[in-house]
């Protein structure tokens, strides 16, 4: 049997060498068909989970777009992205409630946005008031400042020294750990909420159940995505960012100020991280380790879409988000019994493993991603 299979593998390799385009396109086409089929099936069979997946996917999208922009321009994997999302969410929490953990008991600083008149009254059907929107803005400004400062203090020096991408990635991992530790020191390990309490979901046609907050999340992401598109395709600095990502050497010889481009990239990445972090905390909760957990879906989305491509990150994030949610609800019944729990026990805790599976699949079949240029 073994020689036969090697013969087949050889044949396959020969065919691959002779017709690289066919094989590349076949792999890609197969992947597209697979994802499109999965998504359509999910939409029809599990409409509600599909919609929840879109909401989750849209949060991932904001993070993944920032990740992919940073990768495109600076060519390194920014491992601090997820933890920075959480840090931004906690900064918003701090701005909103003024609360941090003291040595023994909770310390309330005595000033915060939620003391503004009517700041916590729910906006229409939403669970939170305008106080959280202001808090999000504070977190956004703080995160942008933090990202630009970190570049100035750390990454810029690494660039001047000509450090390799591994050094950059390791440094960002270190920053991720610092960010998580800061959260633990200041706010403790217990989960927190912007607005405590349980809020009812609204019923929509096709069995869709959504909270008003989730619609807010989707709308916010849609606006942010449009703003990013406008910036990248219609402004001088955005075009320079795309040019630098496309051909850094030529950008330099064209006289493009690459330091300015890098500062802008950090600023945009920081703004997206802050919004994504707050939205994630609205959807789930504030938990110190959530930032690291979310990192995997972020990378899966960015790589699936083709790292460096913002449109790709958006679509990749939707695929990851939907697949994660729907995979939890899949039921395969034989003779009236749901057999899936026996063979594949997908408890909610395994949700993030789905992103892993997608990541491995894409790296095997099409490492450059759905929208990536050929490496």
């Amino acid at each position: 049997m073994v020689p036969e299979s090697t013969g087949f593998a050889e044949l396959l390799n020969k065919a691959r060498e002779r017709y690289p385009a066919v094989f590349d396109n076949l792999g890609t086409a197969a992947l597209w068909v697979l994802f499109a089929g999965l998504l359509i099936a999910a939409l029809i069979l599990y409409t509600n989970l599909f919609v929840v997946g879109v909401i989750f996917g849209s949060i991932i999208a904001l993070g993944a777009i920032g990740l992919t922009l940073i990768y495109g321009i600076m060519k390194f994997a920014h491992f601090a992205h997820g933890d920075m999302m959480m840090l931004a969410a906690y900064l918003a929490f701090f701005a909103l409630t003024g609360r941090i953990v003291g040595e023994k008991t909770e310390v309330d600083l005595g000033w915060s946005l939620d003391r503004l008149p009517g700041a916590t009254t729910g906006l229409g059907p939403l669970s939170f008031g305008y106080g959280l929107l202001l808090a999000m803005l504070v977190a956004l400004i703080a995160t942008v400042a933090l990202f630009v400062a970190l570049d100035n203090l750390i990454y810029r020096r690494l660039r001047q020294r000509g450090s390799g991408i591994v050094i950059f990635a390791m440094v960002s991992l270190g920053i991720a750990i610092v960010a998580r530790s800061v959260i633990l020191i200041l706010w403790g390990p217990e989960p927190r909420f912007y607005v405590p309490g349980i809020f009812p979901a609204h019923e929509f046609p096709f069995g869709i159940k959504l909270k008003a907050d989730q619609i807010f999340i989707f709308a916010t992401v849609a606006i942010a995505a449009i703003l990013v598109y406008f910036l990248l395709f219609r402004t001088r600095i955005g075009k320079a960012m795309r040019a630098t990502s496309d051909n850094p050497e030529l950008a330099r010889v064209s006289g493009i100020d690459t330091d300015q481009v890098i500062r802008w990239t950090w600023a945009i990445g920081g703004a997206l991280v802050a919004v994504a972090g707050v939205l994630l905390a609205i959807q789930a909760q504030l938990k110190p380790e959530l930032g690291f957990t979310i990192l995997l879906p972020l990378f899966a989305a960015a790589i699936l879409g083709g790292i460096g491509s913002p449109q790709g990150a958006l679509i990749g994030a939707m695929i990851v988000g939907i697949t994660q949610e729907v995979s939890l609800g899949v039921e395969i019944s034989i003779a009236g019994r749901d057999i899936l729990p026996q063979i594949l026990p997908l408890a909610p805790g395994y949700k993030f493993a789905v992103a892993f599976v997608i990541l491995i699949l894409i790296l095997l079949v099409r490492p450059q991603g759905l929208f990536g240029a050929k490496a």
């Binding site: 075009k239 320079a240 795309r242 040019a243 496309d246 051909n247 330099r252 010889v253 006289g255 493009i256």
Partner: protein
């Protein structure tokens, strides 16, 4: 008047020294070609002049001003444009956006310049909203030249503009280079296609082993026995 001059330039990559003291100059309005065998240091010379590689000894003068060791950005601002041999367009950007990037440091309205540059290259103009990556090799080379012209440079540095082009495109590219020169831009280029490029050059240099070997007018070099034997294939 001398636009660009390299004096006794010593340069290389890291510890490896490739140029051991090369001197060239380009007068206003000239086309100057540098030829020489592989590894002679032709491309290294252009990169050093443009500030992409450190100049260890010697000097680079632009309009008589010492610009040795300045960054490519500074060179662009002074009026030098450089077209690399390969990867000289932004493949994911449209033709139009490629030109906008060529004009990045211009803060004025460069709309008329875009039209003027595109008028020089009619095939590229037709495809101004196409991604540069979808252009043919020849069209890309045209776009690369067009991008470099967006800042009204005093001098163009071209690294093998005819490399890997089909023969009919080679001729077209050289015609365009002459057109650009006639519009008042000095040109210094490195070429493998020695015969064609020397024909249209006012002067030429032959480099070998990182040193000046010969120099003379384009015609003289074409007729020279050594150049004929070594670089023109008999």
């Amino acid at each position: 008047m001398t636009v660009l001059e390299a004096r006794e330039v010593v340069s290389g990559y890291g510890e490896v020294e490739i140029l051991h003291g090369v001197s060239i100059r380009v007068e206003e309005g000239e086309v100057v070609t540098i030829i020489g065998p592989n590894g002679a240091g032709k491309s290294t010379l252009l990169k050093t002049v443009f500030g992409l590689l450190p100049c260890k000894h010697g000097a680079v003068l632009f309009d008589g001003e010492d610009v040795t060791g300045q960054s490519p950005q500074a060179m662009v601002r002074k009026g030098m444009s450089y077209v690399p041999q390969s990867d000289n367009v932004f493949p994911l950007l449209t033709v139009q956006e490629n030109l906008e990037m060529g004009a990045f440091i211009r803060r004025d309205d460069y709309h008329s310049k875009t039209e003027e540059v595109l008028a020089l290259f009619p095939d590229v103009m037709e495809r101004r909203h196409t991604r540069a990556g979808k252009l043919s090799g020849g069209q890309r080379q045209m776009l690369a030249l067009a991008r470099a012209l967006m800042l009204d440079p005093r001098i163009l540095l071209l690294d093998e503009p005819s490399a890997s082009l089909a023969p009919n495109m080679v001729e077209l590219v050289f015609t365009k280079i002459l057109d650009i020169n006639r519009s008042g831009v000095s040109i210094i280029m490195v070429e493998q296609n020695a015969r064609e490029s020397l024909k249209l050059s006012h002067r030429g240099y032959v480099l070998a082993m990182g040193q000046n070997r010969l120099e003379g007018s384009g015609e003289n070099l074409l007729e020279s026995e050594e150049v004929g034997k070594t670089y023109l294939g008999g």
